[in-house]
């Protein structure tokens, strides 16, 4: 009962706080980026002002079906995030996020606009590039809970990943590298920001989101904040153990990754889709593939030992 209550409270906190954290991170991001480029930059609360302004705009749409598709997108992102923070099955969390994205794509492609058309295809390539890593991350955590425990207690449950003795990063360094790598795509950062900026005056025409206006664009923004918090949650998961002190390390890790993503964004130029696909798939294969191989080998050894001990 206590456990259910605990996860219930966590979910409530997520539902309420995630947009604020996400928006705030966004604001800090813009500030740091500006300083890196020797600009003053907008105030930290600028993302919230933007969203408020978007909601106050006169409604207009190319196709009014966009609105319900985007609301459904938002719903499923929040659904996935809630499952994650409730300690639920990690594979299902990722499946839910990919279902959510499909609604975003459908909303974009209803318009038959050439810019969203290209944006949709690029977004699809991006998904294709990072999805293997998402699934592998879940597999990695699953295997990590196997190693070091004799009770065959492997599971995909996020709540079980929190109960380990050693932080998962010890077993999953390759997975961590792979995951941080795809975060650049997920956060729409250069060099992999293909789908939402493609045009010379990109502030106005943002690829996939080109045809979302007013409240619709605001919904998209909020959904991305929710997703950002979810993804940083996964980053934290690599460092959390049953020892409460580990949460400090997790927080530090999030800050490091956060800064790293801004840095990458500012020092790199956008690449073409085919290079992105090759690079991402390659990095995933090399780092998490090899990591997985080692892990599975350890696992097998352990099973054999176990068999020898008892039978």
């Amino acid at each position: 009962m206590n456990l259910i209550l605990k996860s219930f409270i966590t979910v409530i906190i997520y539902l309420v706080c995630a947009p604020f954290i996400g928006g705030l991170l966004n604001g800090i991001d813009r500030k740091i980026s500006a300083r890196m480029q020797r600009r003053v930059g907008p105030p930290i609360l600028q993302p919230f002002y933007d969203v408020r302004k978007l909601f106050n705009k006169l409604p207009s749409a190319v196709d009014k079906r966009q609105l319900f598709l985007l609301m459904t997108y938002l719903f499923f992102v929040i659904f996935a995030g809630s499952m994650f923070f409730a300690g639920y099955d990690m594979l299902l969390v990722f499946f839910a996020t990919s279902t959510a994205v499909i609604f975003l794509l459908l909303a974009a492609s209803t318009t038959h606009s050439p810019y969203t058309g290209v944006g949709t295809m690029r977004e699809l390539v991006q998904i294709m590039a990072y999805e293997p890593m998402e699934l592998l991350t879940a597999v990695g955590f699953y295997t990590a809970t196997c190693v070091g425990s004799y009770d065959n207690g492997a599971s995909f449950m996020v709540s079980d990943f929190l109960k380990t003795d050693k932080p998962a990063i010890v077993y999953l360094p390759g997975f961590f590298i792979g995951f941080v790598f795809i975060l650049t795509i997920k956060f729409r950062k250069s060099p992999f920001d293909l789908s939402t900026s493609h045009h010379a005056h990109q502030e106005v025409v943002k690829g996939l989101t080109a045809e979302f206006s007013g409240s619709m664009y605001a919904i998209t923004e909020i959904a991305e904040w929710y997703e950002e918090v979810l993804l940083y949650g996964v980053v934290a998961l690599f460092f959390i153990t049953k020892n409460p002190i580990s949460y400090i390390f997790a927080l530090l890790a999030i800050l490091v990754v956060f800064f790293l993503e801004i840095l990458i964004d500012n020092v790199s130029a956008r690449v073409k889709w085919d290079l992105m696909l090759k690079l991402t798939w390659g990095v995933i294969l090399v780092f998490s593939g090899v990591n997985l191989l080692v892990l599975q080998y350890l696992n097998k050894l352990q099973e054999l030992q176990f068999l020898n001990m008892f039978g």
Binding site: L58, P59, S60, A61, V62, L67, F68, L69, M71, T72, F75, F76, F79, Y88, D89, L92, F95, A96, S98, T99, I102, L105, L106, A108, S109, T110, T111, H112, S113, P114, Y115, T120, M121, L124, V125, I127, M128, A129, E131, P132, L135, L136, V139, Y142, T143, A154, F156, V205, A210, E211, S213, G214, D274, L285, G289, L292, L293, Q296, Y297, N299
Partner: protein
């Protein structure tokens, strides 16, 4: 039980003859409906009767079992003669050789071979029940659809000879053979039904008699005949080494008893037969070629029959595949096919071809699951098979109807189909969603498959599944965005009522199975695993099986909640935002709009039609680039591994 199953095989046979004799369009239609309904009723009745009488595995003989035994032998010879005649007629003489070798072996062993221990010929358990329901419901519905479809087909294609009686008759023959295939345990009978399905699909593919059709149908024939040779191996060793014609005794012989190394070779040979039937690489080409035939035959081959016969056999073999090297061969081929098939699907813009590659890819996943062979994996394989049968049949029927209406099945021509042909597009969408979107059927099975391959420590399979999922997502979603996009006015729908009856029933079934998933799991699939895997094949031993369900009830329930959410949330959102009173704006086109979203002003100041096209990435995923290397890699793998097993058997 014997009577019911006998009827199940006999009624389609009689219907086939009846349909072949009637050439009046209307009367033939009624015969198809009547016979179809009778067969469907029989299939459902048999399933219910068996389930009511306890749901235990039963072994039995057919009435006049001995006569039937002789008849299958006669049937083998008839099939051989048919193949010889046709292959000489079309100058493909070499193909008849495979058939002759096979038939001579079978007839010789049966007539002059050693005396074998007598066992009952038929066997019925949960898997047989699932299969007869798939054939009896999905298969028959395709038959009903075919009546209307073929009428439209010959209006459009006056150049082909109208042989509809023949076509429908072969379809019914197909049902009969499939019913036999999934209920028999006699290897000789199994071989006969197996060859019958090969020949039936050969005849269906060659329906139009164009040059392409002839080439493709003979390719399908020889590939399946080569695979069928696996049965000859099983029959020879079964009779001479194990003194039995019982399939299950032969399978067991590969992991218990005296001559396990020979048993392993026999299982490898049977798995080889299944690999060719399920169109895995290197045999994928025959299923792609099958596209030349009218759509009902594609729907039939891809969903309820033919390829599912291969999956059926692999699931039967699965206890002998778990952690064995034969299993390794099967899952490597399956996993590879899953990934390669989905990559190839990306480069295709022909709707039917995308469906064909997706079938190949999904069958790869099923084969891989059966090849890994742990109880959880087999659970996933059975579920994949059920979902795939319904969804794929629906997709094919819808694409066929779209082609009859719009004259094209190219995905690029399907822009905004949801506006133009809402009913057909909706059916296609439901089918597609069922194929890959969370939390629907295929994805749940993928979840289970991933979990169990991790438990089996198969790194390469994990990678195949993770990468393959991503590529699968790509080709389905880009098709989907075409369907839901913007479009011009509505088109006139010429789809006939019987086609819609079939498609709507499919859609209802797909939704029902998704929502009722926990029920299907608890009442049908898990009992199958418990009965077949644990009780029948391992004599009550638990051999690597912990007795837990592949997916916890809690997870299943969350999935069902998600399914409801994915239907309810968009609907609620749709109705609450319907009255959205926004200013209608034009899409952004750099200020060169012409007043609608379909054209722009070109360099000469004239209006030019705008075309937003999907990406096909030919230079990376094209057939030219990937197909032949895939065939080579997989062929090398099969040859090497079969050689190893043969070596083991000869030592």
């Amino acid at each position: 039980m014997g009577n019911l199953v006998a009827l199940l095989i006999l009624v389609p046979l009689v219907s086939a003859i009846l349909i072949a004799l009637v050439h009046d369009d209307k009367i033939r239609g009624y015969i198809v409906y009547t016979c179809g309904v009778i067969i469907m009723g029989l299939a459902i009745g048999t399933a219910i009767y068996w389930a009511k009488s306890g749901g235990e595995t039963v072994v039995f003989n057919l009435p006049f079992n001995h006569v039937v035994d002789r008849l299958t032998l006669l049937g083998d010879v008839v099939l051989m003669v048919l193949i010889i005649v046709l292959s000489f007629k079309y100058n493909k003489k070499i193909i008849s050789l495979i058939s002759i070798v096979q038939t001579v072996i079978v007839v010789y062993v049966d007539l002059f071979g050693p005396k074998v221990k007598h066992t009952a010929s038929m066997r019925f358990d949960y898997l047989s029940m699932i299969m007869i329901l798939i054939i009896g419901i999905v298969g028959i519905l395709i038959g009903i659809y075919a009546v209307g479809y073929m009428r439209g087909y010959h209006v459009h294609h006056k150049e082909y000879q109208d042989r509809r009686s023949f076509f429908l008759s072969i379809m019914f023959l197909f049902y009969g053979a499939m019913f036999g295939l999934v209920t028999t345990q006699n290897v000789l009978w199994l071989e006969f039904f197996w060859e019958t399905t090969s020949v039936c699909s050969f005849l269906l593919i060659g329906y139009t008699k164009t040059e392409e059709a002839i080439t493709n149908c003979f390719r399908a024939l020889w590939m399946n005949l080569v695979g069928g040779l696996g049965f000859a191996v099983a029959i020879i060793y079964g009779s001479y080494t194990f003194h039995t014609h019982d399939l299950y005794t032969v399978i067991k012989a590969s992991y218990s008893g005296k001559h396990t190394e020979i048993g392993v070779f026999v299982v490898a040979a049977l798995a080889f037969a299944a690999i060719s039937k399920t169109a895995q690489f290197p045999f994928s080409k025959w299923l792609l070629g099958a596209m030349v035939a009218p759509t009902p035959s594609s729907a039939l081959l891809h969903s309820a029959t033919m390829v599912k016969a291969g999956v059926y056999l692999l699931i039967r073999l699965s206890p002998a595949l778990n952690v064995t090297s034969v299993g390794k061969m099967v899952y490597l081929i399956g996993g590879f096919t899953f990934f390669a098939g989905s990559l190839l699907a990306i480069s295709q813009s022909d709707g039917k071809k995308v469906l064909a590659y997706s079938t190949i890819s999904n069958l790869g996943l099923m084969a891989a699951c059966a090849g890994v062979g742990s109880a959880e994996c087999v659970w996933a394989a059975v579920f994949l098979m059920i979902f795939h049968a319904v969804s794929k049949s629906m997709c094919f029927q819808s694409v066929g109807a779209i082609e009859n209406t719009t004259g094209s099945r190219d995905i690029e021509d399907m822009q905004g189909l949801l506006n133009r042909l809402p009913k057909l597009a909706m059916i296609l969408l439901i089918g597609m969603v069922g194929m890959y979107l969370a939390p629907f059927g295929m994805l749940i099975s993928k979840w289970a498959a991933l979990k169990s391959v991790v438990d089996e420590h198969s790194v390469i399979m994990i990678l195949f599944i993770c990468y393959g999922s991503a590529t699968t997502m790509f080709y389905w979603t880009k098709w989907m965005t075409k369907l839901t996009g913007m479009s011009e006015a509505k088109a006139k729908d010429v789809t006939q009522l019987n086609e819609y009856i079939s498609m709507f029933t499919h859609a209802a079934m797909a939704i029902l199975i998704c929502v009722g998933l926990p029920f299907v799991s608890a009442k049908v699939v898990t009992p199958f695993i418990n009965n077949y895997y644990v009780k029948d094949m391992f004599d009550g031993g638990t051999y690597g099986y912990t007795g837990t369900e592949a997916m916890s009830m809690a997870n299943l329930t969350v999935m069902v909640v998600m399914i409801v959410a994915i239907v309810v949330v968009p609907l609620v959102n749709y109705y609450t935002t319907k009255d959205f009173e926004g200013r209608k704006t034009l899409a952004y086109m750099n200020g060169i709009n012409t007043g609608d979203n379909e054209s722009f002003v070109d360099a000469f100041g004239e209006s030019k039609k705008l075309k937003v096209s999907n990406w096909y990435m030919e230079e990376y995923f094209g057939e030219k680039k990937l197909f032949n290397p895939s065939v080579l890699i997989s062929a090398a793998l099969i040859i090497i591994m079969l050689g190893m097993f043969l070596g083991g058997a000869l030592v």
